[in-house]
């Protein structure tokens, strides 16, 4: 779906990205993480030609973006930014309807789409005629998300979308994004400097440092013992073992032997971290899981 082939980007004399190779399959939520200046935002902006590569190719839906009209390409890709970028002179409804209007939809179709999107991002329809200045941060961010989804693009680019809202709103918005991703199956490229956010939301995590990809893989793999040190430190938050356990479902360590009768039961859908916590609080080294059991040694073996 999105492919970077040996891409370098140079701004003046500084190299923002050097020789990046990366592939993001259709339907994947891919998080780009790294410290500021690592090039994660630049990498994302290559996809809709807000940044041009100085070497290499960027392919979207199999076609090199360099040969595509930038305005047309961008209308086919949703874009959400940290500061929302809502047009302050236009109502919420007009903001959401921006891309459909650019695509020449008729006004009744746009109005219906706006109403559906307000519902999707769980905003009160009464807000439709407000100006963005009258919205709270969380509401504005939801409008930004709705605007990006307006023409039903199959690709969504999100540049630190939840960076400027309070922690509680951020948690809600993350849950919202996870739900929307599950419902719509869009390919999402999410730039974030928050490792927890990356691990929680993404099925593919790409770690960047000084303009190069240092790690690329599933969240649990990047905090494993054999993951590159930089990625493990960045994503592990000082407890990579626990992080990894929290990313793995308890099912993976289950064994068929039945648990002793007095073993506490672990809910299905729990992670290995939940299991470890349950063991710590109950003092039992064996838990009942389904019709089998979960043993401490098996849990610990998965933490590496």
């Amino acid at each position: 779906m999105i492919r970077f082939e040996n891409v370098s980007v140079r701004f003046g004399t500084t190299e923002a990205l050097s020789g990046v190779n990366l592939q993001v399959a259709a339907g994947v939520l891919c998080a780009l993480v790294g410290p500021s200046g690592s090039g994660k935002s630049t990498l994302m902006k290559l996809v809709n030609r807000l940044v041009e590569p100085s070497a290499g190719r960027v392919l979207v839906r199999g076609a090199d973006v360099a040969g595509q009209d930038p305005a047309r390409l961008r209308r086919s890709i949703g874009y959400v930014m940290q500061s929302t970028g809502l047009f302050p002179h236009r109502s919420v409804a007009a903001n959401i309807g921006t891309v459909p209007r650019l695509l020449g939809w008729d006004s009744s179709r746009i109005a219906a789409r706006v109403a559906a999107l307000l519902e999707l991002v769980q905003l009160d329809p009464a807000l439709a005629q407000r100006l963005p200045g009258a919205l709270s941060g969380g509401q504005a961010q939801r409008v930004g998300l709705a605007r990006a989804l307006a023409a039903d693009p199959d690709i969504l680019l999100m540049d630190e979308p939840f960076g400027a809202v309070d922690p509680i709103t951020r948690r809600d918005l993350r849950a919202e994004l996870r739900r929307i991703h599950a419902e719509t199956g869009k390919t999402i490229l999410l730039v974030t400097h928050d490792p927890e956010e990356a691990l929680e939301l993404a099925s593919q995590v790409v770690v960047l440092r000084d303009g190069a990809v240092v790690a690329d893989g599933a969240p649990a793999a990047l905090v494993a013992e054999d993951a590159p040190d930089f990625a493990r430190t960045l994503l592990g938050g000082g407890q990579p073992g626990l992080r990894r356990l929290s990313l793995l479902p308890a099912e993976v360590a289950r064994d068929g032997r039945p648990a002793p009768a007095d073993a506490p039961r672990l809910a299905s859908g729990a992670t290995l971290a939940d299991a470890l916590s349950r063991m710590a609080e109950s003092g039992h080294g064996v838990l009942a899981l389904g019709d089998g059991s979960l043993r401490l040694e098996a849990v610990l073996a998965r933490g590496r």
Binding site: N48, M81, S83, G85, L86, F87, L102, L131, A134
Partner: protein, 243 residues
Amino acid sequence: MMALLLAAVLALVALLPGWFGGFPPGRLLGLAAGHAGLALAGVVPAALLGLALGVLVTRPSGRALRPAADAFAAAAQAVPPVVAVALAVPAMGFGWGPTILALLLYGIMPVLRATVAALEAVPPEARLAALALGYTPAGALREVELPLAWPLVLGGLRVALVLAVATAAVGALAGAATLGTPIVLGLQNQNQILVLQGAAATASLAFAAEGLLLALAGYAAARGGRSSASPASSAGAAQSRKP
């Protein structure tokens, strides 16, 4: 509305002496019409040129022209209109020509400065969002940048218009029939009443022009606001108009 009220008071001051042996009111009104026409003939091209230059030098491709445009506008305004008129007469002859040229030169800077400042004050994230969503650069300018810049641009237009109306009186020196005519007559004949009438009429016209421009802008904003769907929150609209 303050401007229109002042215009009415000053008009009375200008017209009243006419019935007591001053400059006849009928002729004064005729001169006012000519004066207004002359001022518009100068300020309209100045506004268009100032706007166009302001847009040009804020585009990525025109940024290099910025210092040159600033210098030109400053130089144009530094020349006193009287001098511009005097210098232009030998080349253009008597009549409206020299005055229009002087007003054109004089009016560019306020509009150019205001346009540049206004476009630079557009939130960068709104501009980035416009491009990222798929506006062409021209579309982003028309639909996002200019609407957001408009209140400040309007300020520049007001200044240019008032300057033009006030300065058009100078045209009398080059033989254009303006409200400067009674002033020149009064100065020549040591008749202070004529000078007062011409000055009051000129000021009245300047205030009236400003009032009309604001009324026009308010009307356009109300119509534009209605067509782009935001009747609900006039409070929000007023808030967003604050620069």
